[in-house]
C-alpha cells in the first residue's frame, strides 16, 4: 500500500494497465478448460434439468409435466427401492473398507518398510487398476453355483450354506456389496497407513509409557490424527456406493427381480430401454442432489475440526 501511495499518478495508471493486461491473459488461459467443462458438463446438466420437467420419449413431441417426474421418483416404490439398495451398499463400500483399513493400518503401523510390506501394498492396490466391469465378471464366477465361494464353504464343512449367491434374493445385494469391499479395502488400508506414518511417533511412545493399551491409543491418537484421510475416504467411497454401475451391470444386471437394482442402472433402463427421457433425467438430478447432501456435511465436519 505504501508503495502505491508514494508513486506518482501516471505510474499508478501504468501499473494498473499492466495488471489488467496480465489479468486478461490469465482469463485467456482459462477459456479452453471452461469451454470443455461448460459444453460437456454444465450444458448437459442444464438440459438434464430441462428434460426432467417434460414427458418425452426421445423422438416425438415433448409435453410439459411440471414436477410430475420428481413426484414419481419419490413415490414409486420400485424407484425408491433402487435408492434404498444404494444406501445398503454404503455399508459394504464405506463401513467395511474403512473399518478394515483402520484396524489393519493401526496394527501394521510399526512394520518395517521392507519387501513384505511393499509387496502387500502392490497386491492390495491391484483392484484399483482393473476395470470395475472386470471385477464384476471375476466375482460372478466366484459366486457361481460351481464357483470358488461354494467350494471353500464345502471344504470348511459349511456345505449347507452353499447357493448361487447372486441369484438368491436374500444374498444378492450383500454379495454385490462385498465386491465393492474387495475393490476399496486395499485403497483405504494403504491411504490410512500413509496417514498414520505422518503422525508424530513420540505421541505413541508417550501414551505407551503412560500405560495405555491399544484401544486408548487408537481413540486418543490414531483416530484424531487420521481425520483428514477418513473424510476423504468416506467421501470417495460413499460416492462410489451411490453411483455403482459397472459392477452391477456385469454381475447381476439388477437381478434377481429388483434385488440389486441401483440408481445408475435404473437411469440407464428408464432412459434407453423404456425411452422415458424425462423420468430418467429427473432420477439423475435426484441422484446428484443425494450425493451432494451426503458429501457436503462430511466435508464440513472434517473442516470444523481443523479450526
Amino acid at each position: 500500500m505504501t508503495a502505491t501511495q508514494t508513486s506518482s499518478a501516471p505510474r499508478r495508471a501504468a501499473a494498473r494497465a499492466a495488471a489488467r493486461r496480465a489479468d486478461r491473459a490469465a482469463w485467456l488461459l482459462l477459456v479452453p478448460a471452461l469451454v470443455a467443462y461448460g459444453s460437456f458438463v454444465i450444458y448437459p446438466l442444464a438440459t438434464g434439468i430441462q428434460y426432467s420437467f417434460y414427458d418425452w420419449n426421445g423422438i416425438g413431441v415433448a409435453t410439459w409435466v411440471g414436477l410430475e417426474n420428481y413426484v414419481q421418483v419419490l413415490m414409486n416404490p420400485d424407484l425408491l427401492g433402487a435408492i434404498r439398495n444404494s444406501f445398503v451398499l454404503i455399508a459394504f463400500f464405506t463401513l467395511i473398507p474403512v473399518g478394515t483399513g483402520l484396524v489393519l493400518a493401526t496394527l501394521i503401523r510399526t512394520m518395517r518398510d521392507g519387501f513384505a510390506l511393499r509387496a502387500s501394498q502392490t497386491v492390495l492396490f491391484l483392484p484399483q487398476i482393473i476395470p470395475l466391469a472386470a471385477a464384476g465378471i471375476a466375482w460372478s464366477w466366484m459366486y457361481a453355483q460351481t464357483g470358488a465361494v461354494n467350494q471353500i464353504l464345502s471344504t470348511l464343512g459349511l456345505g449347507f450354506l452353499t447357493r448361487p449367491w447372486l441369484a438368491d434374493y436374500g444374498t444378492a445385494l450383500p454379495a454385490v456389496g462385498l465386491i465393492g469391499s474387495w475393490v476399496l479395502t486395499g485403497l483405504c488400508t494403504v491411504l490410512l497407513l500413509t496417514g498414520i506414518g505422518k503422525i508424530d511417533t513420540s505421541l505413541y511412545e508417550a501414551i505407551r509409557l503412560d500405560g495405555a493399551g491399544w484401544f486408548r491409543e487408537f481413540f486418543t491418537i490414531t483416530l484424531p490424527g487420521l481425520r483428514q484421510e477418513l473424510a476423504v475416504l468416506v467421501t470417495l467411497t460413499v460416492i462410489a456406493a451411490l453411483s455403482t454401475f459397472d459392477i452391477i451391470y456385469t454381475s447381476t444386471q439388477g437381478g434377481p427381480g429388483r434385488a440389486t437394482l441401483v440408481p445408475g442402472l435404473l437411469i440407464f433402463r428408464i432412459g434407453f430401454t423404456q425411452s422415458d427421457v424425462g423420468l430418467a433425467s429427473a432420477f439423475g438430478i435426484v441422484m446428484m442432489v443425494l450425493v451432494l447432501a451426503l458429501v457436503l456435511p462430511i466435508q464440513r465436519l472434517s473442516r470444523i475440526g481443523d479450526r
Binding site: A33, A36, F40, V41, T47, M111, T185, V277
Partner: protein, 274 residues
C-alpha cells in the same frame, strides 16, 4: 518403539489374510481360463492340463487387437488435451491468481460431485445432435469435459504452492508471460503432470458407462466397455470369458507393476487432494 507382541502377530496375520483375499478372485480367473473351453469348470482348482490355447482363442474371437486400438485412440485423444487445458487453467487460477478465480474454482470443484449417471441421458442426445453418436468422439469430447474438475483442481493445487518470488524474479529479468510459463513453471510442474497423466490414463482405459451408452458397436469402445461384448460372445464358456477378461486386464496390470511407485503415489495424492 513399544508394541505388544500380540499386536505385531495379529497385524501380520490380518495383512496376510487381506492379501490372500485380494488375490483369490484373480487367481481364480486364471485357473478357470486354463480349463478345457467346452466344459464348466469347478471352483478354484489348478487344471491338470492347462489350456493356454484358450488365450489365443479368446484373443481372436474377442477381436482384441481392434479393441486395444480403439482404446488407445480414445486415450491418445483425451489425455493430452485434458492435460494441456487443465494446466493452462490451473496456472491461471493458482499461479496468476486471476480476479474472480475463487468463483471459477468453486464452479469446477462442484463438478467433482456430479455422478456420470446424472449426465448420461443428456450426453446421449447431445452426441446425437452433434452427429458423434456411435463414434469414439461421443466418448472423447465428454470425457475431456468430465475430467476438468479434478484436473484443474489438481494443477491449481500445484501452481498455488510455487513460491511467488520465482515468477517475480523472472519478470524482473524481462521474461514475458509465455517465457516464464514454459521455462520456469512447466519444468517445475512435471511431477504433478506425470501423476495426473497416470490417473487420467487409468480412468479413460477403465471407463465403462460412457462407451456402453454412447457407442453401439462394442469394437469401437474402450476395452472395459467391451467386456459386455465378451460376456455375450463367450456366455457359453466360462474358461473363454475369463481368458478374455484377463487379456484385457493384463496390459493395465503390467503398466501398474512397472510404474507402481508412481501409481500408488498418484492415486493416494489424487484421493487426498480430490
Amino acid at each position: 518403539m513399544i508394541t505388544s507382541r500380540t499386536e505385531v502377530v495379529l497385524g501380520r496375520l490380518l495383512l496376510l489374510v487381506a492379501v490372500v483375499l485380494t488375490l483369490i478372485p484373480l487367481v481364480n480367473m486364471l485357473s478357470a481360463a486354463l480349463q478345457p473351453a467346452d466344459r464348466n469348470p469347478i471352483g478354484l482348482s489348478w487344471p491338470t492340463d492347462p489350456q493356454w490355447i484358450n488365450f489365443v482363442t479368446a484373443f481372436e474371437v474377442g477381436n482384441v487387437w481392434r479393441l486395444m486400438g480403439s482404446s488407445a485412440f480414445i486415450v491418445i485423444c483425451v489425455v493430452p488435451v485434458a492435460l494441456i487445458i487443465a494446466t493452462l487453467a490451473g496456472y491461471a487460477l493458482g499461479g496468476l491468481q486471476v480476479r474472480g478465480g475463487r468463483i471459477i474454482l468453486m464452479v469446477f470443484v462442484l463438478g467433482l460431485t456430479i455422478p456420470f449417471e446424472s449426465l448420461i441421458i443428456p450426453l446421449y442426445y447431445q452426441a446425437q445432435a452433434l452427429g458423434t453418436l456411435n463414434t469414439q468422439w461421443a466418448v472423447i469430447f465428454p470425457l475431456i469435459g468430465l475430467f476438468m474438475p479434478f484436473s484443474v483442481f489438481w494443477m491449481r493445487a500445484h501452481f498455488v504452492n510455487v513460491p511467488r518470488e520465482l515468477s517475480e524474479a523472472a519478470r524482473v529479468d524481462g521474461a514475458t508471460l509465455w517465457q516464464e510459463f514454459f521455462r520456469i513453471q512447466l519444468p517445475l510442474a512435471l511431477p504433478s503432470l506425470s501423476a495426473l497423466t497416470i490417473l487420467l490414463f487409468i480412468w479413460t482405459w477403465n471407463q465403462f458407462l460412457l462407451p456402453v451408452v454412447l457407442i453401439a458397436d462394442p469394437l469401437d469402445r474402450t476395452v472395459a466397455g467391451a467386456l459386455t461384448f465378451f460376456q455375450g460372445q463367450y456366455y457359453l464358456s466360462i474358461p473363454l470369458l475369463n481368458a478374455g477378461a484377463l487379456i484385457i486386464i493384463v496390459p493395465a496390470i503390467t503398466v501398474f507393476l512397472i510404474f507402481q511407485r508412481q501409481f500408488i503415489r498418484a492415486l493416494l495424492q489424487g484421493a487426498v487432494k480430490g
